[in-house]
C-alpha cells in the first residue's frame, strides 16, 4: 500500500481531499429533504473510486500515458459521437451515456484526453521549432471535440475546453497582434453565434447577466437567489444545514452548478476564503509541477490542467455571484457528479505522476 501511496503528492492531495470533504458535506446539506437526499452517499462512493483511480494513474509513468494519447483521444471523440447518436436526453440536452445504473458524461473526461493528446503532439519537438501550423493543428484538435460538445448542446462544457489553448501563449508569448486578432475573432464569432448558433435559453442567460434585475421571477431568478444566499452567509455563515435559501429551496440546482452558493451561505465569507485558498494552493502546486516537469509534454499538460481548474473556478464561482453569465458549469471537487469528479482526479493523477518523476531525477 505504501508503495502505491509514495506516488501521491501530499501538497496537492491534502487540499483536494479537504475540498472533496467540504463539497460532499455541502451536497449533503443541499440535498436534505429533497429527492437528492441520498446524493452525498453516492458522491462519497464516486470520491472513493476517484481516489483509487488517482492512485493508479499517479503510479503510471507519464511517458507511457502519453504514448496512448492518440488512441485515448480517438476513443473520446467516438464516445462524444456516441452521445450525439444514442445519448440520454435530460431537459433538452443530450449529454449522457447510460450504462446500467450509471450515467456517464463523456465530455468531462474528453477535456483531459484532448489536453493529453495536444500536450503530447506539441511536446514531441523543441518549443522553438513549434510552428504556427502546429499550433493551428493543435487548435483544430481542441475545436473538434468542442463542436461535438456544443452540438449536445453544452456551452459551459465547450468553454471549459478553451484553457487548453493557453499552451499557445505559453509557447509563443502574448503578442499584441495575436491578442487583437483573437479579440476580432471572438467578437465576429460572438456576433455570428448570437445570430445563428446560440439557443434562446443561452441568449436569455446572456441577457440576464447584462441586467439581472430585469426579471427577478423569471430568467434572473437563479442568479438573484444565489446572490441572496451568498450574501446572507455574512462573515461566519448561517451554519451547516441552516441556510434558509438552501433549505427552503429558493436556491436552484444547488447540488451541482450552485453548490458554492450553499457553501457560501452556510459557511460565510471565512468558508469562501478557505475554499478559494485551497483552490489557489492546488493551482499553484500544478503550475509548480509544470516548472519542474522533465519533458515539454508534461509541462504543457500541467499548464493546461491548471488552466482547466482555474477556468472552472472563475466561471462557476464568478457565475453564482453574478460576475459572469449563468452557464451550466460545475465547480471541481464541490459539485456532485461522478464523471467530473473521476475526470479531475484522473487528470490530477497524471500531474502527480509528472511530479513524482521530476522529483526522482
Amino acid at each position: 500500500m505504501r508503495e502505491r501511496l509514495r506516488f501521491l503528492d501530499s501538497g496537492m492531495l491534502l487540499p483536494m481531499v479537504l475540498m472533496v470533504i467540504m463539497g460532499t458535506l455541502t451536497v449533503y446539506s443541499a440535498g436534505r429533504g429533497t429527492s437528492q437526499s441520498g446524493l452525498w452517499l453516492k458522491q462519497s462512493l464516486w470520491n472513493a473510486l476517484a481516489f483509487m483511480v488517482l492512485a493508479g494513474v499517479a503510479a503510471i509513468n507519464p511517458m507511457r500515458t502519453f504514448r496512448s494519447a492518440l488512441m485515448l483521444y480517438l476513443l473520446g471523440c467516438m464516445s462524444l459521437a456516441a452521445v450525439l447518436v444514442a445519448g440520454h436526453r435530460i431537459g433538452g440536452a443530450q449529454r449522457w451515456l447510460v450504462l446500467g445504473h450509471l450515467t456517464w458524461q463523456p465530455s468531462e473526461l474528453m477535456k483531459w484526453l484532448t489536453l493529453l493528446f495536444v500536450a503530447h503532439r506539441l511536446g514531441t519537438r523543441p518549443p522553438r521549432d513549434v510552428t504556427g501550423w502546429d499550433l493551428a493543428g493543435a487548435s483544430m484538435l481542441v475545436f473538434f471535440p468542442m463542436l461535438l460538445v456544443l452540438k449536445q448542446p453544452d456551452l459551459g462544457m465547450a468553454i471549459s475546453f478553451l484553457p487548453i489553448l493557453l499552451l499557445i501563449p505559453l509557447l509563443k508569448g502574448l503578442r499584441a497582434r495575436w491578442v487583437i486578432a483573437g479579440l476580432v475573432a471572438v467578437s465576429l464569432l460572438g456576433f455570428f453565434s448570437w445570430r445563428q448558433v446560440l439557443k434562446p435559453y443561452q441568449k436569455q442567460r446572456v441577457m440576464t447577466f447584462l441586467d439581472p434585475a430585469a426579471d427577478l421571477q423569471g430568467k434572473g431568478y437563479q442568479i438573484n437567489q444565489s446572490r441572496i444566499a451568498i450574501g446572507s452567509g455574512g462573515l461566519f455563515g448561517q451554519g451547516f444545514t441552516s441556510g434558509s435559501q438552501t433549505q427552503l429551496n429558493f436556491l436552484p440546482v444547488k447540488t451541482t452548478d450552485f453548490v458554492f452558493s450553499v457553501w457560501a451561505e452556510e459557511r460565510g465569507f471565512l468558508g469562501v476564503l478557505l475554499a478559494l485558498g485551497l483552490f489557489g494552493t492546488v493551482i499553484m502546486r500544478i503550475l509548480d509541477t509544470a516548472r519542474v516537469a522533465k519533458t515539454a509534454s508534461e509541462t504543457y499538460f500541467c499548464v493546461g490542467a491548471a488552466g482547466i481548474i482555474a477556468l472552472h473556478l472563475l466561471v462557476n464561482v464568478g457565475m453564482v455571484i453574478g460576475l459572469l453569465p449563468n452557464k451550466g458549469i460545475v465547480l471541481p471537487f464541490f459539485s456532485a457528479g461522478g464523471s467530473s469528479t473521476l475526470s479531475y482526479f484522473l487528470g490530477l493523477g497524471v500531474v502527480m505522476a509528472v511530479r513524482y518523476r521530476a522529483k526522482m531525477k
Binding site: P169, L170, G234, L248, N249, F250, I283
Partner: protein
C-alpha cells in the same frame, strides 16, 4: 529542453501564477462585497421571501334565536386562492390559469391587479367552498400553477335555510364600490354582511382577523409557523326572533306571497319576521349560476325584496283606526256618533260604494263591520293634512328604525307631498279614498305592526329590533341590548278604549270572527286593499291573480294584557278576513297555546343546544371530509 527556452517557459508559468492569484483575489473581493458589505441587506431579502405574514380570517359571530336555537353557524371551508405575494405578474400565466379555470381572463387580470394595488396582503380567492371533487381538481391545478394555494377559512351556514332569509341576510365579499365609498372601513376581500341582519349589525358580528408568521419554501408552501396571533372570532349574537314562531309564520304563508311580522310589546323585539317568497341565504355564499340569478334577482315575484321593511302596501281598512283617531282628536265625532250606510254614497259628485248595506252604525260597529261609508263620512269632514298630522304623531310617517338595512319609509299623503312629488294640488275627493286606506296611502308591514303595537301599549311607539343581546367574551352571559326607550304619543285613554273595543268586535263579532281562538282574545283589524282601481267584486273571479286584492290583518293579543302585536299581508289573496287573519290566528295559536304545550321545534335539522354554549367550540365543527 534548451536552457533559453526553458527559462522563457519558467517566466511565462510565473506570469500565469500571478494571473491566477489575481483572479482569486478578484473573486475574494467580489465575495467580500456581497457577504460583508451587503450581507445585512441580503439577509433581509432572504427573510423577506421566506417569512410571510398570512391573515387568518376571523369567524363571524354565531347567530342564535332568543331561546339559543342556533340559526347561523360557521364551518371551515377550503378555498382555492393565490396568496398576495404569489400573485402572478406574467399575463401569459394568468391567461393559462383563466383557461384552466374556465373564467374570463380579462376579469381575472383585473382582480389580480386590484388585489396587488390594495393594502393589507389580501389573498385572491379563485374558488370558494371546495367540495371533494373540486378539491381534487384544485390539487391538480396546483401542480401546474405552483402559486396557487388552498386556504382554510370560516364559512357561514344558515341552518334554517329559507326560514328567516330576509331577517338574517347573508354575507359576501366587499365590493369595489363599497370600498371606494367608505375608504378605510373595509379591507379588500373582506367578508361582510351583504343584507339583512348580517349587514345591519356587521360591526358586531365581525371578529378581528388574526395574523400568522410562517416560513415558506420557494413554492410558498408553509414549512414552519411562528408568531401566531389568533383571530378573534366575532361575538355570538342573539336575535329577538323565536324560531318556533318564525316556523309557524313561514308555514302559515306556504305558497302565498306577502309579509308578516310579530313584535314583542315589552320592548319592540321582533319575534318573527317573514317575507314570502323567502330565500335560502346559503345560495348566495357561492357565485350564482345564470339560473339562480334568474330565479332570485330577475323574478317578477321579487323574492329578494324584504316585504316586511321594503314592501309598501295600501293599508286598506287597517288604516281606518288612524282616521278614527284623527276624527276623535279633532272632535268631529264622539265614539257614539252614528252614520248610516246605504251601501253607497256620493261625495264630491262621485259615487263611493261600500261592500254591504250596514245601516246605522257607531264608531265601534263601523270598525267591527269595516264599513267604508262611515269612514267616507269622516274623510269628508277631515282635511288630508289632519290625517297626515295624526299619522305623523303616531309614527306612521317615519322609519321604524328597525335594524335591517334599506328600510323603506311608509307614505301617508298630504298636501305638501302631492305638491312636491306630483306637482299637483290636492283634491278633496282624494281624502275620501285616503280615509279607508286607499289612494296614495302606502305602509310597510313593519310600520303597520308598530302602529298596532302603539294602540296595544296605550300610545307607546316602540322601535322594532332584531338584536336581543351579545354574548360576553369570556362567559355565557349575555349583554342584553337596550332598545331605544319607547316614545309616548299621548294617546287619550278614552280614544284608546274605543279603538280597543272596535278591534275586539272585529274578531268577536265582525269581519274576522272566524279567526277567533277560544280562550284567547286576539284583536285586530282586517284590511283589503285594491291593487288596481276599484272593481266590482262580481268580477272577482275573472281577475288574474296579480290583480287580485291584497289581504291585511293587523292587531295584538291578548286583549286583556297585550304581549304581541302583528301585521300580516297576503298579496293577491283576496279578503283580509279570509286570507290574512287566519295567518295571524295561527301565530297566536302557536304563541299562546301550542308553544306552552310542547318543546321548541328546532330550526332546520339541527337540534337546539341550549346548554352547551362554548364560543370556541361553536366555530370548530369538523371540516367536510
Amino acid at each position: 529542453m534548451e536552457l533559453q527556452q526553458h527559462s522563457l517557459l519558467q517566466k511565462r508559468i510565473g506570469i500565469m501564477k500571478t494571473v491566477a492569484w489575481f483572479m482569486i483575489l478578484w473573486l475574494v473581493l467580489a465575495y467580500a462585497r456581497v457577504q460583508i458589505w451587503k450581507g445585512r441587506e441580503m439577509q433581509k431579502l432572504a427573510l423577506a421571501q421566506a417569512v410571510k405574514t398570512r391573515t387568518t380570517p376571523a369567524p363571524r359571530g354565531l347567530i342564535f334565536d332568543r331561546n339559543t336555537n342556533k340559526l347561523v353557524d360557521n364551518r371551515r371551508a377550503l378555498h382555492l386562492v393565490i396568496q398576495f405575494e404569489d400573485l402572478p405578474r406574467d399575463s401569459g400565466q394568468i391567461e393559462a390559469l383563466a383557461a384552466a379555470l374556465q373564467t374570463d381572463p380579462d376579469q381575472l387580470k383585473r382582480r389580480v391587479v386590484a388585489i396587488r394595488q390594495a393594502a393589507g396582503n389580501r389573498m385572491l380567492v379563485l374558488q370558494d367552498n371546495l367540495d371533494d371533487a373540486s378539491l381534487a381538481r384544485a390539487e391538480v391545478l396546483r401542480a401546474r400553477f405552483p402559486f396557487l394555494s388552498i386556504e382554510v377559512a370560516p364559512r357561514r351556514v344558515y341552518l334554517g335555510e329559507d326560514l328567516a332569509g330576509h331577517a338574517l341576510g347573508y354575507v359576501g365579499e366587499v365590493t369595489p364600490e363599497e370600498l371606494a365609498k367608505e375608504p378605510g372601513r373595509y379591507q379588500l376581500g373582506e367578508i361582510i354582511g351583504r343584507t339583512g341582519f348580517e349587514a345591519a349589525r356587521n360591526d358586531r358580528l365581525k371578529g378581528v382577523d388574526g395574523q400568522r408568521r410562517i416560513l415558506v419554501d420557494y413554492l410558498g408552501r408553509e414549512v414552519a409557523t411562528y408568531g401566531v396571533q389568533e383571530a378573534k372570532p366575532g361575538r355570538s349574537v342573539y336575535l329577538t326572533l323565536d324560531a318556533g314562531l318564525q316556523t309557524t309564520l313561514k308555514e302559515a304563508f306556504g305558497q302565498v306571497q306577502g309579509a308578516g311580522v310579530v313584535l314583542d310589546l315589552r320592548d319592540g323585539g321582533i319575534l318573527a319576521l317573514y317575507s314570502s317568497p323567502s330565500y335560502d341565504p346559503n345560495v348566495f355564499l357561492n357565485r350564482l349560476t345564470q339560473d339562480q340569478v334568474g330565479k332570485y334577482w330577475n323574478n317578477p315575484d321579487r323574492p329578494m325584496l324584504n316585504r316586511v321593511t321594503q314592501g309598501r302596501y295600501p293599508p286598506g281598512s287597517t288604516f281606518k283606526l288612524l282616521v278614527a283617531i284623527a276624527a276623535l282628536e279633532k272632535g268631529i265625532i264622539t265614539p257614539s256618533t252614528t252614520f248610516t250606510c246605504a251601501g253607497h254614497k256620493s261625495f264630491y259628485g262621485r259615487d263611493f260604494r261600500c261592500d254591504a248595506v250596514h245601516g246605522t252604525l257607531n264608531l265601534v260597529q263601523a270598525i267591527a263591520q269595516s264599513c267604508d261609508i262611515y269612514f267616507y263620512e269622516l274623510g269628508a269632514r277631515l282635511d288630508v293634512d289632519d290625517i297626515y298630522n295624526t299619522a305623523k304623531k303616531y309614527g306612521l310617517t317615519e322609519l321604524t328604525g328597525v335594524d335591517l338595512p334599506h328600510e323603506v319609509r311608509s307614505r301617508v299623503p298630504s298636501r305638501a307631498w302631492k305638491r312636491e312629488v306630483k306637482k299637483e294640488k290636492w283634491y278633496a275627493g282624494e281624502t275620501i279614498s285616503v280615509s279607508i286606506g286607499q289612494g296614495a296611502n302606502s305602509l310597510t308591514p313593519i310600520a303597520l305592526a308598530r302602529f298596532y303595537a302603539m294602540i296595544a301599549t296605550h300610545g307607546k311607539l316602540l322601535t322594532p329590533h332584531l338584536l336581543y343581546g351579545v354574548r360576553q367574551e369570556n362567559s355565557n352571559d349575555i349583554d342584553l341590548y337596550q332598545p331605544p326607550a319607547p316614545r309616548e304619543t299621548g294617546l287619550d285613554s278614552g280614544i284608546w278604549a274605543t279603538l280597543d273595543e272596535g278591534l275586539y268586535q272585529v274578531v268577536h263579532s265582525g269581519t274576522a270572527r272566524e279567526s277567533a281562538i277560544p280562550g284567547l282574545t286576539m284583536v285586530g283589524k282586517t284590511g283589503t286593499s285594491q291593487v288596481t282601481s276599484f272593481v266590482d267584486k262580481a268580477h272577482y273571479a275573472t281577475l288574474s291573480k296579480k290583480l287580485r286584492d291584497n289581504a291585511l290583518f293587523a292587531g295584538y293579543a291578548p286583549r286583556e294584557n297585550p304581549q304581541i302585536a302583528f301585521a300580516v299581508v297576503a298579496e293577491n289573496a283576496g279578503f283580509g278576513a279570509s286570507s290574512a287573519a287566519p295567518i295571524a290566528r295561527k301565530l297566536c295559536q302557536y304563541w299562546f297555546i301550542d308553544r306552552m304545550k310542547k318543546p321548541l321545534p328546532p330550526p332546520g335539522a339541527k337540534l337546539p343546544d341550549a346548554f352547551r354554549l362554548d364560543p370556541d367550540q361553536a366555530g370548530e365543527d369538523e371540516p367536510p371530509r
